[in-house]
């Protein structure tokens, strides 16, 4: 049997000694080389629990996790040489500084890491001048960058990123996105959990959906876009202000649909070029100022929410 870089099969987890609370029921997932898999679910769906199990922090109730074919529970020491984990809320020894912390943690890795390599890793994540600052003085964004530096210290094959981009500023988001893409392009595998779906759709090759502890669908981004197109089609949004009811009636007549308008944006479900240019000509002739026209081919959030509703129906909620 061949395995991906990460293969999760039938994973379940119950918490509690006497009163069992199921956190995971059935998680099945595969992440291959040179691939970013977005792991999407509502809060409490089981994303973090799944990733913590893979990282070896908690043990599952049943199921299997393999990293490059190695049993991640019974052969954690070998399997963990192949992955790095960027947790949702990275917690370090706050009494330490970044440099000492990385040197300390790297001692438990598979490769010898020198002080200069640590300095280099810190520089790569933009913390080159903060290496000797106490970690208790670090902001969330700096902690996430430090966690990323730790993750890349030993050139892993698999990167487990749990809501790693939450709370980052735009520059930080951009940095993380580019770092992850670069890692993927060099052959690395990434499991990227997030509920910021624009981020997922921006970088993922495939997306796996999890709801109430069960992964119910995994598709490539292309397949999801196709599904979106066939279900919803593309839409177009005009950024325009001050439309009167008469305008909306005329636009409805031109497009042949009931349009929606919130005072700032006018949305057309149809993205047909003749309809879009007709509506644009009307708005200009009516003296309205159009500040922008956006074409929306894919909305993962909309698709995800519909899938969750469908999953709820199937699960009898």
């Amino acid at each position: 049997m061949t395995y991906g870089v990460l293969t999760i099969e039938g994973l379940s987890k119950e918490f509690g000694a006497t009163k069992k609370v199921p956190a995971l029921k059935s998680v099945n997932l595969e992440v291959n080389k040179g691939e970013i898999v977005g792991f999407v679910g509502l809060n409490g769906a089981g994303k973090t629990t799944t990733i913590r199990i893979v990282a070896g922090v908690i043990r599952p109730t049943s199921g299997s996790v393999r990293v490059e074919g190695l049993d991640a529970f019974n052969n954690h020491e070998k399997a963990a040489e192949l992955f790095s984990w960027v947790p949702e809320n990275p917690i370090f020894d706050l009494g330490s500084n970044a440099r000492n912390w990385l040197l300390y943690v790297s001692r438990f890795g598979s490769k010898e890491v020198s002080a200069s390599q640590v300095d280099e890793a810190l520089s790569k994540v933009g913390l080159g001048d903060k290496g000797r600052v106490k970690l208790k003085a670090y902001s969330l964004g700096m902690k996430r960058r430090l966690a990323l530096a730790q993750a890349f210290l030993e050139e892993p094959q698999l990167l487990l990123m749990d809501e790693a981009m939450n709370g980052l500023d735009p520059e930080g988001m951009h940095f993380f996105r580019e770092t992850v893409r670069d890692f993927r392009n060099k052959g690395g595998a990434v499991l990227l959990s997030s509920h910021v779906l624009t981020e997922i759709s921006g970088v993922s090759d495939r997306v796996s959906f999890i709801h109430r502890g069960t992964t119910f669908e995994t598709k490539t981004l292309d397949d999801l876009k196709q599904e979106f197109q066939s279900s919803y089609g593309a839409s177009v949004t005009f950024e325009v202000q001050g439309l009167a009811d008469a305008d909306l009636l005329e636009i409805g007549r031109l497009s042949g649909e009931k349009v929606s308008y919130d005072g700032k944006a006018l949305e057309l479900k149809s993205a047909d070029e003749s309809v879009v240019s007709g509506v644009n000509r009307y708005l200009v002739s009516a003296g309205r100022t159009v500040t922008g026209i956006r074409r929306v081919d894919f909305n993962l959030e909309q698709l995800f929410l519909d899938k969750v509703r469908e999953a709820d129906r199937r699960m009898g909620a």
């Binding site: 070896g56 043990r59 963990a80 040489e81 020894d93 438990f108």
Partner: protein, 470 residues
């Protein structure tokens, strides 16, 4: 390198570099040395003021002899020549004294010398040149209730010995009775086995035919219980009225270090255990370590073991410095004393570091493990002793009985702090220097066995918690 060893050495180095632990240990060492030094100096000063002849009046005709015990300022036996003089109970000056006997004390004889005299009054004149600071004079006195001279026979150092059941000794008007010495042997010459009561309170058994104890009482009735006829001598230790009760120097030094270490070592252990595992466990920082290529078990064991080893290194240094300091001020502690002190300290470190690590699995806030550790420390250092002595105190005489003492001492084996103290004092166990009521009913084997049980129990608890909580 083996991963467990890697975690172990990493934690060892980390803890050795920890300024917090270093400061705590350095403070302890400074306190230990300064307390010992100041106590020693204070004893020395007090003792030098006492270099004066001491007269002891014995009104009972059963007065049999004199033994003298001379020590220097910190309790070491000294070599000195003493003279015992006869005084004719003169009522008016000029008083005349006639030397009747003299003897040499020398270090090799443990500071004891003896002389026989049948006089009813004696004065012992140590040289008043300040060459030795303190002394004890032991008057061996026959029991008042067994005054028949026909019962006198051979005995310890004295031709006359008394077969007694009760030996009553009363303090002369110008002295107190800080202590008694009892020697006993059976008719066949073998050491007597008997229990000794002073003032109705059980004080211990004859060990190898000898018992020695110091009690700050004005009078004492020494009752010797034994099964068959035997020869028994009862000696009283007289001291001048302002005499400081001073055990031998090595006992003094060890008791100071035992008390100090058993009380304060748990604090250092709690800090080290908290730093090693508990804090990272409670905060969650341990998870980033666990996600590395090393198993959880190796992380838990390695970090806890590393902390123990680091503290072991620190306290070995403390023990060695303390040992060298003792030698510097003239107290000859042995390497055995050093080894036992370190063994007791290591035991205490083990118990408290592992317990502190265990609390990390239950704590919900960063302060919880510290509080648990401090609670345990207070319980075993203070509360346990009060609780276990309560039943004995409430039952009155039981505490004075052999049974009561044995019970109290045996139950103290349930207290790791007490076990650590007993380990540190194993070399004095049931020796003539030991005040045996504190160890009655205990044997070195029992102490070692209880330490082993403690180590096994805490280890098992640690394993159980790891399995259950993970």
């Amino acid at each position: 390198m083996n991963k467990a060893l890697l975690v172990f050495t990493t934690e060892l180095v980390r803890q050795l570099k920890s300024w917090k632990v270093l400061v705590v240990v350095a403070l302890m060492l400074a306190l230990l040395i300064s307390i010992t030094a100041s106590y020693s100096v204070s004893v020395q000063q007090t003792s030098f003021n006492q270099v004066q002849p001491m007269a002891v009046a014995i009104n009972d005709t059963g007065f049999l002899g004199v033994r003298a015990y001379v020590v220097d300022g910190v309790g070491n036996p000294v070599s000195v020549h003493l003279t015992v003089e006869k005084d004719e109970m003169q009522q008016t000056p000029p008083y005349q004294s006639t030397p009747i006997a003299s003897f040499d004390l020398y270090t090799g004889s443990d500071g004891f010398g003896y002389v026989r005299t049948n006089l009813s009054y004696s004065e012992l004149n140590p040289p008043s040149n300040g060459s030795f600071p303190s002394y004890e004079i032991m008057i061996v006195q026959r029991s008042g209730s067994s005054s028949s001279s026909s019962s006198l026979g051979g005995g310890f150092h004295f031709p006359e010995n008394v077969s007694v059941e009760t030996a009553s000794v009363v303090s002369p008007s110008n002295s107190s009775i800080p202590g008694i010495v009892v020697w006993g042997m059976n008719q066949d010459g073998t050491p007597l086995s008997a229990q000794v009561y002073v003032g109705g309170v059980y004080r211990g058994d004859l060990s190898n035919g000898t018992f020695k104890g110091f009690y700050d009482v004005d009078s004492a009735e020494v009752e010797i219980s034994y099964g068959s006829e035997a020869n028994v001598s009862v000696g009283m230790v007289y001291r001048s009225q302002n005499y400081y009760s001073l055990p031998p120097a090595d006992v003094l030094m060890m008791s100071v270090s035992q008390g100090f270490l058993s009380f304060f070592v748990p604090i250092a252990a709690i800090i080290a255990g908290y730093d090693a595992l508990a804090r990272e466990k409670v905060t969650g920082a341990i998870e980033l370590v666990i996600s590395r290529p090393v198993s959880k078990g190796k992380v838990y064991w390695g970090k806890t073991g590393g902390a123990l080893a680091a503290m072991g290194v620190y306290f070995l240094a403390v023990s060695v410095i303390f040992y060298l300091f003792a030698r510097y001020i003239g107290i000859s502690l042995t390497l055995g004393d050093l080894a036992l002190t370190f063994a007791g300290t290591l035991f205490l470190l083990f118990i408290f570091i592992f317990f502190e690590s265990i609390t990390g699995f239950f704590g919900r806030s960063t302060t919880a493990p510290i509080l648990w550790g401090v609670l345990l420390w207070v319980f075993f250092s203070i509360v346990f002793g009060i609780l276990t002595s309560l039943p004995l105190l409430l039952t009155g005489g039981a505490v004075n009985s052999a049974y009561g003492l044995a019970f109290e001492n045996l139950i103290s084996l349930c207290n790791p702090v007490r076990v650590a103290t007993l380990i540190m004092g194993l070399s004095f166990f049931n020796s003539s220097s030991s005040f045996t009521s504190s160890t009655y009913g205990l044997t070195p084997t029992m102490v070692v066995a209880s330490a082993v049980v403690w180590v096994v129990a805490v280890t098992a608890l640690f394993v159980l918690v790891i399995k259950k909580k993970e």
